[in-house]
């Protein structure tokens, strides 16, 4: 059974249909990407899966559990962690404390949490900045921090929301390396992205959303050549 199964997900905002009967699956230890032009419904799908929005109809199954109606903190405790497009941080905490907050999802003892946090920081390459105030980090480091905090919750599936936004090519390569490292560590990745340079090299499969509908799915190169996809991206101008 797939790790994440989304079936016929539909979400409306007033008269606007943001998601229209969307279905897809993510297998264990896959890296699956979701792309689509602006306004396609990517973030809506993201928020529905992670519990921040309630879908109007459809099913979401994760690791055998029915996820519909779960609150955001519950989806996290079940093993789904997410990052935010507009990078969020606990500005009054230091880096190590932010990640510890994440690690405390799996333990009640701050000592164990701190240990896990330190390990995670080393994993993402932020260990040298562990005592820096989160509010004073650069954008790249803040994204790394977001990844670290999410990773510290020990997820089976990590969902990334446009992690490449605002990064230069060198930084994108760093992120790609990190993502591969995360997958190799056993975590499945579902990446919503707008920047092709990140998605294409790293994703095993890519799905394309347009006007709330899934219009293509397959390996990166196939999807990039798909006519409907090309039209969606060009046509929207």
């Amino acid at each position: 059974m797939a790790l994440l199964e989304v079936r016929k997900l539909t979400k409306r905002f007033g008269g606007l249909v943001a998601l229209d009967d969307v279905s897809f699956e993510v297998e264990k230890e896959e890296i699956v990407g979701l792309i689509g032009p602006n306004g396609a419904g990517k973030t809506t799908l993201f928020n529905c899966v992670t519990g921040f929005y309630k879908p109007d109809s459809g099913e979401i199954h994760f690791d055998g559990y029915n996820m519909c109606g779960l609150k955001p903190h519950e989806t996290c405790l079940k093993g789904m962690a997410r990052t935010f497009q507009i990078v969020k941080a606990f500005h009054s905490m230091r880096v190590i404390e932010c990640v510890t907050a994440g690690a405390l999802a799996r333990t009640d003892r701050t000592q164990d949490g701190k240990k896990k946090a330190l390990e995670t920081l080393e994993f993402v390459g932020l260990a040298d900045k562990k005592n820096v105030l989160a509010g004073s980090l650069t954008i790249v480091d803040r994204k790394r921090l977001g990844l670290a905090s999410a990773l510290a919750t020990g997820p089976k599936l990590m969902l990334l929301d446009e992690v490449a936004a605002g990064l230069n090519p060198v930084e994108i390569d760093d992120v790609i390396r990190l993502l591969r490292k995360i997958r190799d560590g056993g975590t499945t990745l579902f990446i919503v992205e707008h920047v092709m340079k990140l998605i294409m090299p790293v994703a095993d499969r890519v799905a394309v959303l347009h006007h709330g509908k899934k219009i293509a799915e397959g390996r990166g190169e196939e999807v990039a050549r798909d006519e409907a996809v090309i039209e969606a991206y060009l046509g929207r101008e």
Partner: protein, 330 residues
């Protein structure tokens, strides 16, 4: 090799604590009274800070919890001869329940910002009016406790007030210790996470609703114990003296002036505001100047240093400590 070493700061702290313990022997009864008041509001401010400063949910209705604590212990004492110590525990439990109720109402309704603040005032006011209309506990007249000879059981020490001083000192030390332990624990991390970014906190598996209610309940219970102390010290309570909005303001003023979300903030704030208020009150003979000064102080701090004066106080503390010798013994 140095077997024992103490930093200058720790030494200064010990000196200050020793001075505090010896204070009653060195000062007039009036100053002792001021010290007790400072201690009480430092305690209450810390209780408020625990629930509100760290979570960012700033209640302006804490007088309700203080009043509940005062009334429960006083009523049990006057009607059933239960020692106020046990009455205090009962008060804490009831206040915690009320605090949790306030939390559930406000947070279920998703109240934020000033809506939350005004709602806490509303709930406290409703409680106050309810007590005004409850003749069993004296209605608007309140309850007056008879003075008895010094006694632990009766929680009264009016001959010299020494008992009050050491008890409030112990209470303050205790609450600061509890506060420190909570901040370093999972609870503390979660409170601050919720304050900084509730959405992000949720994404890390933090049930914000649950923890906000927990914070409210803990803060309410601790505040209630302060209410019992107040009742035993002043021996008179009424809805307008322990449940009014003005009392809530006095409770949080120290924390705001000193610095919210810090351990020493409420203590420093209370230590600045209350002596000035008590001294103003004594020299002018009655209400008036004390609140003018408190008001000016508050405006000044809010405009010049919204994070509270604790930063300055810490610097002064360090500067003072640097004059002390380092203690080391091998």
């Amino acid at each position: 090799m140095v077997a024992f070493q103490m930093s200058q700061r720790r030494l200064l702290l010990i000196i200050l604590i020793a001075a505090a313990l010896l204070l009653p022997a060195l000062v007039t009864p009036f100053i002792l009274h001021v010290a007790i008041m400072v201690g009480l509001f430092a305690y209450l401010g810390s209780a408020w800070n625990l629930g509100c400063g760290y979570t960012g949910k700033l209640s302006w209705g804490h007088s309700a919890f203080m009043g509940l604590g005062a009334y429960v212990s006083t009523a049990l004492y006057m009607f059933y001869a239960v020692t106020p110590w046990i009455g205090a525990i009962a008060g804490m439990i009831i206040a915690a329940a009320f605090g949790a109720l306030v939390g559930v109402i406000c947070f279920r309704l998703g109240l934020k910002g000033h809506y939350f603040v005004i709602a806490t005032i509303a709930l406290a006011e409703i409680l106050r009016v309810a007590f005004i209309n409850w003749s069993v506990v004296g209605g608007a007249w309140g309850l007056l406790m008879p003075v008895v000879p010094d006694s632990m059981y009766h929680f009264q020490f009016h001959s010299s007030r020494l008992g009050y001083y050491y008890i409030i000192f112990a209470m303050l030390v205790a609450i600061l210790y509890v506060e420190r332990r909570i901040i370093k624990s999972k609870l503390g991390y979660y409170f601050i996470a919720i304050k900084d970014d509730e959405e992000m906190a949720e994404s890390l598996g933090i049930n914000a609703f649950k923890y906000k209610v927990i914070a409210a309940a803990i803060s309410a219970a601790l505040t209630a114990f302060g209410g019992t102390f107040y009742a035993q010290y002043v021996l008179y309570i009424s809805p307008d003296t322990v449940m009014a909005v003005g009392v809530s303001t006095e409770i949080l003023m120290g924390a705001v002036v000193g610095g919210m979300a810090t351990l020493g903030g409420p203590v420093v704030g209370a230590a600045i505001i209350h002596p000035i208020m008590e001294l103003s009150r004594a020299y002018v003979g009655g209400r008036g100047l004390d609140y003018v000064v408190a008001g000016l102080l508050t405006v000044g701090v809010a405009v010049l240093r919204p994070h509270g004066v604790i930063g300055w106080v810490e610097k002064a503390f360090d500067a003072l400590a640097s004059y002390l010798p380092r203690v080391a013994r091998s």
